[in-house]
C-alpha cells in the first residue's frame, strides 16, 4: 500500500512538474516557430500575469473557435490547439493568416480596451 502511494505520489509530482514546465503558467513568449524567417523577436506574453491583470476568465476570449462557414462557436474554446493549427501563414478567405491573427487577437483587443501595448516595439522586444 505504502509502495503504491509512493509511486503514485512520485508520478503525480512529475506530472505536475512537467505540466508546469510546459504549461502556460511559465509562458513568457508567444511561440513563433510556425514562421519561416521571423523578422522580429517573438512577442513577450506572460499568460497568467496578463489574464490576471486583464481580468480574463473566459479562455475563449483569445482561444476562439470558428466553424467551417466562419461563424464563431460561442461557448467553445480551442486552448488545446496551437494557433497555427488553424491559421495558415497567409489569409484563407475570411480567416486571417497567422501573423494577422496574432496581431488582431493581441493589438486588436488592446486598441478596443485602450489598455496594453500597441506599438511594434512594446511586444517584439529585442
Amino acid at each position: 500500500m505504502n509502495r503504491m502511494l509512493f509511486w503514485g505520489m512520485t508520478i503525480l509530482s512529475i506530472a505536475v512538474a512537467v505540466c508546469t514546465a510546459f504549461g502556460q503558467e511559465d509562458m513568457e513568449l508567444v511561440d513563433n516557430g510556425a514562421f519561416d524567417r521571423p523578422q522580429r523577436p517573438p512577442a513577450i506574453f506572460e499568460h497568467d500575469a496578463h489574464n490576471e491583470m486583464a481580468g480574463l476568465d473566459d479562455c475563449a476570449e483569445c482561444h476562439h473557435l470558428y466553424d467551417e462557414s466562419g461563424q464563431k462557436l460561442e461557448g467553445e474554446s480551442s486552448e488545446d490547439q496551437m494557433c497555427a493549427d488553424c491559421h495558415e501563414l497567409k489569409d484563407v478567405g475570411s480567416k486571417p493568416g497567422l501573423r494577422k491573427a496574432f496581431h488582431n487577437n493581441c493589438k486588436g483587443c488592446h486598441v478596443a480596451q485602450e489598455k496594453g501595448p500597441i506599438a511594434c516595439a512594446q511586444c517584439h522586444v529585442r
Partner: protein
C-alpha cells in the same frame, strides 16, 4: 496614449494623405492656370519627345554634364531619392499595418536591409545639411526653410530608426514617427518638397525649350 495612437494612426493619417494628394492636385492646377494666364506661348513648344528626352537623361546617374562634374553629390542624390521612396513602401512594419487595415500585402524588404537603407537616408540628409552650410555657392542660395524641409524629410526616418532600435520605452516614439511622416506628407505640396511632382514638369519644360527652340542639349 491609446487615444493619441488611434488618432494619429486613424483620422490624422487619412487627413495627411488627403492633404498630400489634394495639395499636389491644387499645385498642379494652379500652375497650369498660371501658365495659361501669363505665358500661354509655352504650350506652342512643349514637346513630349524633348521633354521625355531631358527627363531620361537627368534620371540616368552620370547621364548629364552636371551629374558628372559632381560625382559625390550625384551618388548621394540618387541613393537618397531611391531609398527615400523604396524603404517606407517596402517596409514590413508598414505592410503589416496596410494588411491589417485593408488586406493589402506585397513583397517586403528584410528588416536588416531596411534598417541600413533608413540609416543611409538619414546620413544623406546630414550630407545635404553640411553641404548647404559649407559650400559657398550653395550657402548663398540657402535660407532657413532649406534646413527645415531637410529636417521635415529626415524626421520620419530618424524617429522610425529610433523606434525600431527601441532606444526609448513605450509607444510615444512610434506615435512621433507616424506624426512626423504625416506632417511631411501634408506639407510636401506646399513646400519645395513639391518638386516630387513639379520637378518633372520643370524638366519637361526645360527639355522642350532647349530641344525645340534653342536646338541645344540641356544635359
Amino acid at each position: 496614449m491609446h487615444a493619441l495612437y488611434q488618432f494619429v494612426a486613424g483620422p490624422l493619417a487619412w487627413a495627411a494623405f488627403i492633404v498630400f494628394l489634394g495639395g499636389l492636385l491644387y499645385r498642379l492646377i494652379r500652375l497650369l492656370i498660371l501658365v495659361r494666364n501669363r505665358e500661354p506661348f509655352i504650350s506652342s513648344y512643349m514637346s513630349w519627345r524633348y521633354g521625355l528626352r531631358s527627363i531620361v537623361h537627368w534620371l540616368t546617374p552620370f547621364g548629364t554634364v552636371r551629374w558628372r562634374t559632381m560625382p559625390v553629390l550625384t551618388v548621394v542624390t540618387f541613393v537618397f531619392h531611391l531609398f527615400l521612396l523604396i524603404t517606407p513602401i517596402f517596409l514590413l512594419s508598414h505592410i503589416v499595418l496596410w494588411d491589417e487595415a485593408w488586406g493589402l500585402t506585397w513583397w517586403a524588404l528584410p528588416d536588416v536591409l531596411a534598417d541600413i537603407m533608413c540609416a543611409i537616408v538619414i546620413a544623406c540628409c546630414v550630407f545635404f545639411a553640411v553641404r548647404r552650410s559649407t559650400q559657398p555657392e550653395v550657402r548663398f542660395v540657402t535660407d532657413s526653410s532649406d534646413y527645415l524641409i531637410l529636417l521635415l524629410t529626415a524626421a520620419p526616418f530618424l524617429t522610425g530608426f529610433v523606434a525600431y532600435h527601441q532606444w526609448t520605452e513605450g509607444a510615444w516614439m512610434t506615435i512621433l514617427h507616424m506624426f512626423s511622416g504625416e506632417l511631411m506628407l501634408a506639407l510636401l505640396p506646399f513646400t519645395r518638397l513639391g518638386h516630387m511632382l513639379l520637378g518633372w514638369l520643370t524638366r519637361a519644360y526645360m527639355g522642350s525649350e532647349f530641344g525645340g527652340v534653342r536646338h541645344a542639349r540641356d544635359w
